[in-house]
Amino acid sequence: MTHPSSGEALAKPVPGGLGRLLDHRVLLSIAVLAILPWLLPSKALAVNVLIYGVVVMGYNLLFGYTGLLSFGQAAFFGAGAYFTGIAIGRYGVPWFAAVAIAVFLSTCLAALIGIISTRTRGIYFSMVTLALAQLVYYVALQASSFTGGENGLRGFTVDRISLFGLQVNFLDPVNKYYVLMAFAALAMWFQSRILNSPFGAVIEAIRENEQRARACGYDVERSKLVVFMLSGAISSLGGCMLALHLSIVPLDILHYQTSGMIVMMVLLGGARSFFGPFVGAASFLILEDVISLWTPHWQIFVGAIFVLFVLFLPKGIWGTLLDTLGIGKARR
């Protein structure tokens, strides 16, 4: 272990050789995502990695960085998708505006659920988020004239989009991938900004020691609410991407199984790591693809692998890799 001598570089946080790469984590992550369609067997899989990566990244802000285990993140994923679809299909809103509206409304939903759930702690928080997310599920199921009920939301196909005066065929998988990647890049930039900000330090302090954070002078409850909303906003953007990608919104994405999948993805990839959510989403989706070819009971195997990860690789694939390379012990 090396320490800076006390006179110099006092204003600098913890140093590190390879750790410098973390200063460019957004650009590096974008670079990896840019070549992803050619690394994976199909473009459809790559798009799913993008979408779930963004959803899980938003969740990572809440679970990984703040230490709040929510079982209801599907509510915001679904809300983003439904609001986008309804705005385009029912009200004829242009696609880009629809995404902005959907993220805004989903953030409001996160505020509502957050106000109730962040008053509770530990297992109660998990249960309240689960219950409220299921409430959202049943609202979507019942309000079928808006949402299509159990058939899912249909009838809002986005086939051509105009970008800076250019007409782009959105049905082409490569075009679609890169348009959606721009959203993922935006989300990553925003998340990185939050993590580097003073507020990013507050949520880490709350994760590490809530009582101490309060004694230091932080309004812990309000901070939790704010991070809950930020997390919901980022995850909802993943929902918007899903709606644009599929041109339908299946009711299933609001189900608690989706919330569970989000938790599994973040743990597989590595909670508290910046790129871990994308690694987790990719690993989960590849496992699902590969194992479901052999057996319809793929979930048994994914479940077993998940348990092994929790027991032996608690930092997930990406977190363990970074540790092994000695990158960024204090921040990644």
């Binding site: 320490h3 913890v14 507020f199 330090a201 101490r212």
Partner: protein, 251 residues
């Protein structure tokens, strides 16, 4: 009184049917080290938790620099100038030593800013390092806090409390669980601190308390038993009966 910093007026605290504190009236002047002692269960920690806003008293009033604190939520106490350490080590284990103190310094200025880069708030880094220097931990600034020794963690806790430049520093058994060597370092640190600011100390180690404090307050069964200079306390028959006479250190 001109130099009065903190006044507790008829403070009482009940937990259900149990009376933890009853009618405590005390005034603390600025710029001295006062110790609060008493056998286990005397109400010392409860009193400390009230002074730092963790608990709200069931009766009585708390005034700090003329302002009433009763209705204030705990996280506002630091902003008023009251900062504390805990009996059981209470740090941010998975953050670096430097970040432990830096984040505490940050609490007084920015908390909901999601835009600026915190690495550029250089003033906070400098203040954190100054506080680490004051407790002798500057050389460990890059280590994760959980890897420090017990004594170093206790010192880190004081740095966390100190970095807010509190007018009143509340220290809850800063030498708890320490060996003789570590205790000696801590006593030296406490003496340095007491030179510059008002310190309230809860301690079990009698010898240390009597040597260190200008004033000693003795609690017993939630009531005020004695209050005076160390010499008066040493010779007070009530104190000898409930506390000193029983055993050397741990009442």
């Amino acid at each position: 009184m001109s130099g009065e910093l903190l006044r507790a007026e008829g403070i009482g605290k009940r937990f259900g049917g149990f009376v933890a504190l009853e009618d405590i009236t005390l005034s603390f002047a600025a710029g001295q080290l006062t110790s609060i002692i008493g056998p286990n269960g005397a109400g010392k920690s409860t009193f400390f938790n009230i002074l730092s806003g963790v608990l709200t008293p069931t009766s009585g009033k708390l005034h700090f620099r003329g302002r009433e604190l009763n209705s204030l939520p705990q996280h506002r106490f630091v902003h008023q100038g009251i900062s504390r350490s805990y009996q059981i080590t209470n740090i941010f284990p998975d953050l670096s030593v430097h970040e432990n103190v830096r984040v505490a310094a940050q609490a007084l200025t920015v908390s909901f800013d999601i835009w600026r880069n915190r690495a550029r708030l250089t003033e906070l880094h400098a203040r954190a390092d100054a506080a680490l220097d004051a407790v002798g931990l500057l050389g460990k600034r890059g280590d994760l806090a959980k890897f420090l020794s017990h004594g170093q963690q206790r010192a880190l806790e004081i740095a966390i409390a100190l970095v807010s430049e509190p007018e009143l520093l509340l220290l809850d058994e800063p030498t708890a669980g320490m060996g003789p060597e570590e205790t000696k370092d801590m006593v030296a640190l406490l003496e340095r601190l007491a030179d510059k600011r008002t310190v309230l100390l809860v301690e079990h180690k009698m010898k240390m308390v009597l040597g260190l404090s200008k004033r000693v307050v003795v609690l017993h069964h939630g009531r005020l038993l004695a209050d005076g200079a160390p010499d008066e306390i040493r010779s007070n028959p009530d104190v000898r009966r409930v506390y000193l006479g029983q055993s050397e250190g741990y009442g």
